[in-house]
């Protein structure tokens, strides 16, 4: 039996980290992002997915770091890995189709899982230039499934993103820019797309075999579907809701705070 933690024993970051870890299946090849997803993947490795293979974008294949890396270029990535090399390996392997799952983030997302990390406002006259794409669209193009972890605010769950940095289920067909299902563009390179969004309010999935729209899967404890709808600019499909997001177990919290991130680099401990 799972030994679920009580509400005062975990924080929101713990909940998100465990929800992200639950997206990983054993034996999968997983492309790691920096931050909370890295802890999540290593948590999965410690618990239900001991044989997952971790790839760091900067060039580490099947990594088993001794100490939590703070980014994918970190010197901590190399030791214990099967091969440490470079980006040409990491991206070629991804384009070849080895990658099952990638974890990503974003500043804005729309109904079809298109994500923006490039700018807020008109690209040609932006209110704010952000970091840019990084590998977000590449992993999202090459992996079978991608999971996004995002802060949930109305300004982030938008009708139209300022810029589509990373492709969702309905994307722009150039030169005209009309929206089509991504299958139409990717041809034989089509392997899938965004599979879940884990926000600070709930977990969302996509009707990818239909029109690819986002729907609410689970609400985090204490959050209602109405509250989530209020924080989305688009009409959210709440017809398929499956109840509450699973809360962390005491075992998971032990791994997060005593083994993986004891220095609270990415996941703060709950103040007791």
């Amino acid at each position: 039996m799972s030994d679920f933690a009580s509400p005062e024993e975990y924080g929101l970051a713990d909940l998100l980290c465990c929800a992200a870890a639950h997206e990983v299946q054993d034996n999968e090849v997983v492309f790691a992002g920096t931050g909370l997803p890295m802890v999540a993947i290593m948590l999965a490795q410690q618990t239900h997915a001991p044989d997952l293979k971790l790839i760091f974008e900067a060039g580490t294949l099947d990594g088993r770091p001794l100490e939590l890396p703070t980014s994918v270029g970190d010197a901590r990535c190399e030791m214990g890995s099967s091969r440490a090399s470079g980006l040409n390996d990491a991206f070629s392997i991804a384009q070849r189709g080895y990658v099952d799952l990638g974890f990503l983030g974003g500043a804005e997302v729309d109904l079809y899982g298109n994500v923006n990390t490039t700018c807020i406002g008109d690209y040609l006259d932006p209110d704010l230039r952000l970091t840019g794409s990084g590998g977000n669209p590449d992993i999202n193009s090459f992996a079978s499934r991608t999971v996004f972890i995002m802060v949930h605010e109305k300004r982030r769950f938008v009708e139209n993103t300022s810029y589509i940095t990373s492709p969702g289920w309905r994307v722009k067909k150039w030169p005209g820019g009309e929206f089509v299902h991504r299958k139409e563009l990717y041809g034989s390179a089509y392997r899938g797309g965004p599979s879940a969004i884990i926000s600070t309010m709930g977990v969302f999935r996509f009707a990818d075999e239909e029109d690819g729209h986002m729907y609410l899967d689970t609400c985090h404890p204490g959050v209602t579907p109405q509250q989530i709808q209020e924080q989305c600019q688009f009409k959210l499909d709440v017809s398929r809701i499956q109840g509450e997001t699973l809360v962390p177990t005491r075992e998971e919290l032990h791994f997060i705070h005593d083994v993986l991130d004891p220095d609270e680099i990415f996941i703060p401990k709950v103040k007791k």
């Binding site: 970091t131 590998g135 193009s141 041809g187």
Partner: protein
């Protein structure tokens, strides 16, 4: 024995002219050639065109100093020490810089093409995104696509002609004047040995017309040639070499020192405005050379970042630990 490749940091910076295109070794906040980047800023280099697989603090320092007219890349920030490139954002808002966005894999493949002498690379990444929006071809809008150093088109789309695989995108080879590398070891004749992840260093070195390697140490060629399979870049791909311990600071060097996180945090939080940048540059760049910069940092700070030679990184002090 080939010609003497040794030069100084000052001479390395002088090789890069106003208007040069430039790229770097490393990845985000690791192994960036900072000692030469600082020298470029001291020499008030102008109109640079940066073409980077990914950006990082070196982008931000050069952009903030006003050295850069064009930035072609996919990402800039300081990882967990600063979430975006505040200097680039400010210059974009003020329309003082041209930004050409590609995806990370596209940038990498552009350098793979450049390094192999191919005119372009073919990929199927980022289809359907605004990265491919024809209205967002910024070098084209600026009338700079001369078909010489800057490609005539940002992208060309075709259908896979061989296997009916669907839409493919052609991205132009990266053509770069100078690559600045920062590595652990270089031989007297230019052979490079990178320890740890080598990121996109082999591709950027080969794609550039001139490659300058700054190393923690210059070692006898014979030493590197004893185990040639461990070397990363061949001697004749490298034109100039510079010895410069701690030359990557504030970025990290696998096996030697970690990233100076507090330094990057101070830079990020202090340089949101041009006044803030100018004050930071006055304190940490102008009027200093590499030795006085290290003296200013001081031994305690430098020792705190030193890597453990068995682990190749600096292990964290465990909170409340044993």
């Amino acid at each position: 024995m080939s010609q003497d490749k040794h030069i100084t940091i000052q001479q390395a910076a002088e090789i890069i002219k106003d208007g040069s295109s430039l790229t770097f070794s490393g990845f985000t906040i690791w192994r960036r050639p900072f000692a030469i980047v600082y020298e470029l800023i001291r020499q008030y280099r102008k109109n640079l065109h940066l073409i980077e697989v990914n950006g990082g603090p070196q982008t931000e320092f050069l952009v903030g100093a006003g050295c850069v007219d064009i930035w072609e890349s996919c990402w800039v920030g300081h990882e967990l020490y600063g979430k975006y490139g505040a200097n680039l954002s400010r210059k974009v808002a003020d329309k003082e810089i041209i930004v050409e966005d590609y995806s990370h894999a596209e940038m990498l493949f552009r350098f793979v093409a450049g390094a192999s002498g191919a005119p372009y690379a073919v990929t199927q990444t980022s289809l359907g995104t605004d990265i491919h929006n024809p209205e967002y071809d910024m070098l084209g809008k600026a009338g700079l696509r001369d078909g010489k150093r800057i490609a005539k088109e940002k992208y060309v789309f075709t259908e896979d002609p061989f296997f009916d695989g669907g839409q493919v995108v052609h991205v132009p080879a990266a053509k770069v004047d100078v690559a600045l590398l920062c590595v652990q070891q270089v031989g007297e004749e230019g052979t490079v040995r990178v320890d740890g992840q080598f990121y996109s260093d082999p591709e950027v070195a080969r794609a550039a017309d001139i490659t300058i390697v700054m190393a923690e140490e210059i070692v006898p060629e014979e030493y590197l040639r004893r185990n040639a399979d461990q070397n990363t870049i061949a001697s004749f791909e490298v034109d100039h070499i510079v010895q410069c311990p701690y030359g990557a600071h504030p970025t990290g060097m696998f096996g030697h020192y970690d990233v100076d996180g507090p330094f990057l945090k101070d830079f990020y939080s202090g340089t949101r405005t041009q006044e803030g940048y100018d004050a930071f540059a006055k304190e940490w760049i102008h009027g200093l050379d590499h030795h006085s910069y290290l003296e200013k940092l001081g031994w305690p700070r430098i020792l705190k970042m030193r890597a453990n030679s068995a682990l190749n990184f600096c292990p964290r002090e465990k909170k409340g630990g044993n």
